[in-house]
Symmetry: C2
Subunit: 303 residues, 2 copies
């Protein structure tokens, strides 16, 4: 699980992905499976898929400041639960009305809308159960854990992810095309929770203020880049690799980078965001190798 043992972003992502999958499974089992239908709907969306990019970045940030990994897993799993809840709710008929996610029917297509809404609600709630359950942590400072909860809640609320999703929907429905709004949407909806993942990974690893600030900034840049890459994949990606329909953003009149600037300019903006993120962490030593590999991966990913 250290940078010395991996030499590609893919290998690092696979390693963290396996740990997170096992962690999520374990934490869900501990919650119990009654009512069965709700537990199944939560498991359906949470397990067995996804790049786990937020946990991956949390671990990589943690590693870059020489963290010992003792308490990273429950926090990473909580963030992944929040991400998973947001996908379930975003896919609902009243929101983006998507039928396919990661190559599988979306949650509400399998379990119905009522259960999907509750599965999202419960994943969000369970995330905060994990974060506040002292038994899951080793020798952690209580005030640090409170700070972590606060950072994650703020990144997920009106000034972060949920606010971004609201703006996204409003922009789509009124067909607004405006650069500043697009930047705000991408930052809030995607970059805030990614930046929070890096920040809490840093704090859990005992990072200095300077390191923490740099990792958070890298997170905003890489998170923004991640969303621009997503926009581009919706135009140019392969349905087999992505596991979802292509061109759905365009069909829906969604405000995206390619829609505003075209593919070429969007790609060059993506690459300059990656360069900027790499520059932000240039003062880190070789323990930041995973962060550097992942930046390249995000800039050039095909799924």
């Amino acid at each position: 699980m250290t940078y010395k043992k991996v030499n590609s972003a893919e290998a690092y992502i696979a390693k963290v992905g396996e740990m997170v999958e096992n962690g999520l499974e374990k934490f869900l089992v501990a919650e119990g499976d009654n009512p069965t239908q709700l537990a199944e709907a939560m498991r359906y969306s949470l397990l067995g898929g996804g790049k786990r990019i937020r946990p991956v970045l949390l671990f990589a940030a943690h590693e870059s400041v020489n963290g010992n990994f003792a308490n990273a897993l429950p926090v990473a799993c909580a963030i992944e639960m929040i991400h998973s809840y947001s996908l379930i709710h975003d896919d609902l008929p009243a929101m983006d009305n998507d039928d396919l996610r990661r190559g599988k029917p979306t949650n509400h297509r399998v379990f119905g809308e009522a259960t999907a809404i509750l599965a999202g609600d419960t994943l969000l709630t369970t995330a905060f159960s994990l974060l506040s359950n002292k038994k899951l942590y080793q020798k952690i400072d209580d005030s640090l854990l409170l700070e972590i909860i606060s950072i994650i809640a703020t990144a997920s609320g009106i000034n972060g992810m949920a606010g971004g999703q609201m703006l996204d929907i409003l922009a789509e429905r009124s067909a607004i095309e405006e650069e500043n709004l697009l930047i705000e949407i991408h930052k809030k909806k995607t970059a805030c929770l990614i930046a929070a993942s890096l920040k809490v990974g840093a704090l859990l690893g005992g990072a200095s203020e300077k390191q923490t600030a740099a990792l958070e900034k890298y997170g905003m840049e890489i998170g923004f880049a991640f969303q621009v890459a997503d926009d581009l994949l919706d135009v140019e990606g392969s349905v087999d690799l992505l596991g979802k329909e292509i061109g759905s953003d365009v069909q829906r009149g969604k405000l995206t980078y390619p829609a505003l600037y075209g593919v070429e300019k969007s790609r060059s903006h993506l690459h300059s965001l990656i360069e900027s993120a790499l520059e932000t962490i240039s003062f880190f030593d070789e323990k930041a190798t995973p962060l550097r590999l992942i930046a390249h991966y995000i800039g050039y990913r095909e799924r």
Copy 2:
């Protein structure tokens, strides 16, 4: 704000209600109002209505163990936000499909389904922001605050409120009539978060283990009673007093106390629950007067 200054449940409820209203207003303003539509939808359901029974019971429990009220308000407001989120989501077309709540159109009837879903999500998230924001508390022990977060999250998740709502929906759709299931639904959906309100009120007031256990037990009994009273009001209540349609439970084939046992037997069960709750806190002194008044109020309420 003490038992010496009130001699009726109504007066106590009015006093706490005013404090909570002001607190909620202040905490929402601190969160900011961007995006406007999301902030407005949150305010619409959270402010200006409701009995605030969970905060009322939290304050009354706090007072019964001689708490100094220093940190009760943000915790009470967080619980009220969680309650408010649950009402918004329960009213959605995919769930109970209600048009009226507290005499006003439901959230999704005013703001649309997408915004209502997000307003619920954001209220839930904001509750945990409040709970983890150390700046809102005076000299609070970090480990106590973590324990409070954990209690509230657990009471709201699959083993509490959200699990209860899932069972409620499943029972309704399959027209199951089964006593044990009804008890489980009422306990999880309603009593768990009410019991948690009493427990955290007690813990914030420095309660002993014996006091805390008794207040939590009182909370489960009074919470259960509250829901039985709600079932009865749906059959016998006044639309003017309740601000919602009467008979909607029956129309919908909902599993309720009057449906299983009839009105008379339900009412006698309600009263025995109240007696039992009063017995549970019989060893408390006169500082538990508000808790005793509220127990009577819940047993005989007309709205």
